[in-house]
Amino acid sequence: MHSDDHSLFVVSKEDWSLHRKGYQDQVRHQEKVKEMIKQNLPDLITEESIVMSDGKQIIKVPIRSLDEYRFIYNFQKQKHVGQGDGDSQVGDVLARDPAQKPGQGEKAGDQPGYDIMEAEVSMEDLENMLFDEMELPFMKPKEQQDVETESITFNDIRKKGMQSNIDKKRTILENLRRNATTGNPGIHHISPDDLRYKTWEEIVVPHSSAVIIAMMDTSGSMGSFEKYCARSFFFWMTRFLRRQYEKVDIVFLAHHTEAKEVTEEDFFTRGESGGTICSSAYQKALEIIDRRYPPSKYNIYPFHFSDGDNLTSDNERCVRLIGELLKVSNMFGYGEVNQYNRSSTLMSAYRNIKMDQFMYYVIKEKGEVYHALRTFFKKQEGALT
């Protein structure tokens, strides 16, 4: 039929290594994902999957905004045609939506059928994005900071060095390479030119430590939302301080009418009933500092989370104890989780504290944990760094 066409075919195999378009656009896509993550930081950092991740290094965050939006049909309300293996019946169940967990009512939109993109971010990237905008205020030079630890890392290769530090593998590689270029491959005639030495660098690490005194109201009035906000906050705060200090301790103090030191687990999960006397926690904090964390050696960060529902007669005592705590601490942070914007007794007293090192923030919704972090650790001019 088309005899002239028949010989018209060509087979070729070319070098495609310069065709990088797919990779370039992939990089662009990743950049956009990153931008998106940055824009969504306030929501992301309180994502349960992260706060509860227990130090997983790669986390998945749902990114909606990077879908390619178009007018499409509602997959859920559409009829589809499928194929069985021969004996399908009307009424057969093909799939079931995962049961909605109670308490996740708001997430009704996240149903299968949507192509929710999950971006993988490393914890480190996320920290970098978040902490880039933050700084630790009121750092005080501690006596121990003068004590610097020196450590040695072998991280360089040179042609000259001590005999004991010969890098055998690299030396042999050099020998192989040289022999190969002279047309006589193999390992032989190791010359001084082939010798490679490992060499080290001294690194100076300032030895510094910090302690966070995490105090939280665990009285009946603190619900799961309040605790979750506090938990997110402490999660990031600990990570932030770990970047600044070599060693960060965290002490958990739960209080209602009296305070006691508890484990992290208990701190975030156990609830108690009864009223609230915040000064009990401050008192306890002072005792612990006195006993275990001498201010001369430690940077101390007492932070207190409450719903602000304090016994009114206790407020004055609280203000006084904060003053005392501030004498030994770098700063004191008070976070009030107050969903409904009630006027709280504690806040009315704290509003009048005029000390730079005392900071407070009222969190009304999850996203504000981010703003609280930024308020407490905002970059300051003239601060010691």
């Binding site: 039929m1 018209l8 195999k13 378009k21 656009d25 499409i72 589809h80 499928g82 399908s88």
Partner: protein, 479 residues
């Protein structure tokens, strides 16, 4: 074995296969086979064309596809481009027998591109056209900034499916002629009385088209609902700059090029699978080769659960047509005058004149539906359930899912709404609701392109709803 030997062997096999294909009457363009590494094949797969413009969304697709390949979840063995000469990209590392199957498969695709009616208006130089488009877009990026171009393309891509793929569209592409034509048509139609009964319009089918509109409607803009939303916005938006109109028109061309492929997916894959089987049967294969062929062949055409494998469905329908025209029943012989032994001829005719919709409507039979165990399923409460196995409903549902390439059918119903230059898009509701979350996110894009308030009419839970985006917020109003 070195590269040269491999290529020699492949060349030998290709000429053998082509000879067989010619014997069967396949009619294709000159072929260019390129052997490429996996990442290149996947790049082409993600972009749809090796020379297409750059955009992050392709990067996203590429990344996804490549990852599936790296994890061994999926493999693309070949890609074929509708062009003259026809480019086929073979995955480097395919075995010789795999390549034989692919070469045969690709020839049938090319035959389909060349002969199917839906492709008759295809630009066969699209490889070069797209390359020119990519070049121009990157020029614009340099001139107007990458961000500006990218965010504009984001917006255009959001409505790119809304073109009018009709093959005969004389008045298009010329704004003035378009308007004149439409207005003239309307004046003429105004002379006719609107039809009185449901079927009255059938009587006047031969007469010039009658429309239920009075003369005052001629002030309507556009005079008729316009299916080609891309074209309409590109021509009539008051905020677009020249480079933006240029990009829109180029992307519209690309969509029109891809459209026939979306319309004939089942047929085209069925056709190619049909022929690679027939052609390979003619070759002398060793027993190992036969097993390898069988493996690959079955992985291509295997049925899949909950979704339809177009290769399999298309193949089965073609085989069924051939059988029914080779061995017509007595009834068919008497009533339709069908003579035995015309199977081959018939499938060539089908490949020329049908598209997926008519292919399924005309040739998916009761026996075949039952044989393939096809069903309709939908969501009932939290469960996805089989709700119907009646063959006609299955067939009709398949047809419905292929209407307008599977996209909701939107038209511009008013380009000067409230005499304020606002744009009204109307969703021609046919029983399936829009995805509202996606709609919410798409409307700002339409606003970005139109530059004034945009509206969308659709049906939600049997109620007419109008969504309005005024540049700040989306409002919903029950009409």
């Amino acid at each position: 074995m070195n590269n040269q030997d491999e290529i020699k062997q492949l060349e030998y096999a290709i000429s053998e296969i082509m000879e067989i294909a010619d014997g069967f009457g396949l009619d294709y363009y000159p072929m260019r086979y390129e052997i490429c590494p996996a990442d290149i094949i996947y790049t082409f797969g993600a972009y749809g064309m090796p020379t297409r413009f750059s955009h992050w969304s392709f990067g996203k697709t590429f990344n996804k596809m490549k990852m599936q390949y790296d994890f061994g979840l999926s493999k693309i063995y070949e890609l074929v481009i509708n062009s003259n000469p026809c480019y086929a990209f073979l995955l480097d590392g395919n075995s010789l027998i795999q390549n034989k199957l692919i070469v045969a498969h690709v020839l049938a695709h090319c035959d389909f591109f060349k002969n199917n009616f839906r492709f008759s208006a295809s630009n066969r130089n699209m490889v070069e056209s797209m390359s020119a488009t990519a070049e121009r877009i990157s020029q614009y990026e340099m001139e107007f900034g990458t961000e500006a171009v990218e965010s504009f393309i984001d917006a255009v891509l959001s409505i790119q499916e809304h073109v009018d793929p009709q093959l005969i569209k004389a008045p298009h592409l010329d704004k003035q002629r378009y308007m004149e034509h439409k207005i003239k048509e309307q004046k003429e139609s105004a002379k006719h009385d609107p039809p009185a009964g449901d079927y009255d319009d059938l009587w006047s089918l031969d007469a010039p088209k009658s429309k239920e509109k009075d003369a005052s409607a001629s002030r309507h803009f556009p005079p008729e609902p316009e299916k080609d939303v891309m074209w309409f916005i590109q021509e009539f938006s008051e905020v677009l700059e020249e480079w933006q109109r240029d990009i829109m028109s180029m992307l519209r061309e690309e969509m029109l090029y891809f459209w026939p492929q979306m319309e004939t997916k089942i047929m085209n894959e069925g056709w190619a699978s049909y022929w690679h089987q027939r052609i390979i049967r003619e070759l002398d294969l060793t027993s190992e080769e036969t097993i390898e062929f069988a493996k690959l062949n079955s992985s291509v055409v295997q049925p899949s659960r909950n979704s339809l494998n177009p290769y399999y469905l298309g193949l089965k329908i073609f085989e069924d047509i051939e059988r029914r025209w080779d061995h017509p029943t007595k009834e068919e012989q008497e009533l339709a005058g069908r003579k035995p032994g015309q199977g081959r001829e018939k499938i060539f005719e089908v490949r020329e004149f049908d598209s997926d919709i008519s292919f399924i409507r005309n040739y998916l039979t009761k026996e075949l539906t039952e044989d393939l165990d096809l069903y309709v399923f939908e969501k009932k409460g939290p469960e996805w359930k089989i709700t119907d196995k009646g063959w006609e409903r299955v067939r009709d549902q398949l047809v419905v899912s292929r209407v307008n390439g599977g996209n909701p059918y939107l038209v511009v119903s008013d380009g000067d709404y409230l005499r304020n230059g606002e744009l009204v898009l109307r969703h021609e509701y046919e029983g399936t609701e829009l995805d509202l979350k996606y709609m919410e996110r798409t409307m700002p894009y339409v606003y970005q392109l139109w530059g004034r308030t945009v509206h969308l009419e659709t049906i939600i839970e049997d109620k007419k709803v109008m969504f309005t985006h005024d540049g700040k917020k989306l409002h919903r109003k029950f009409v």
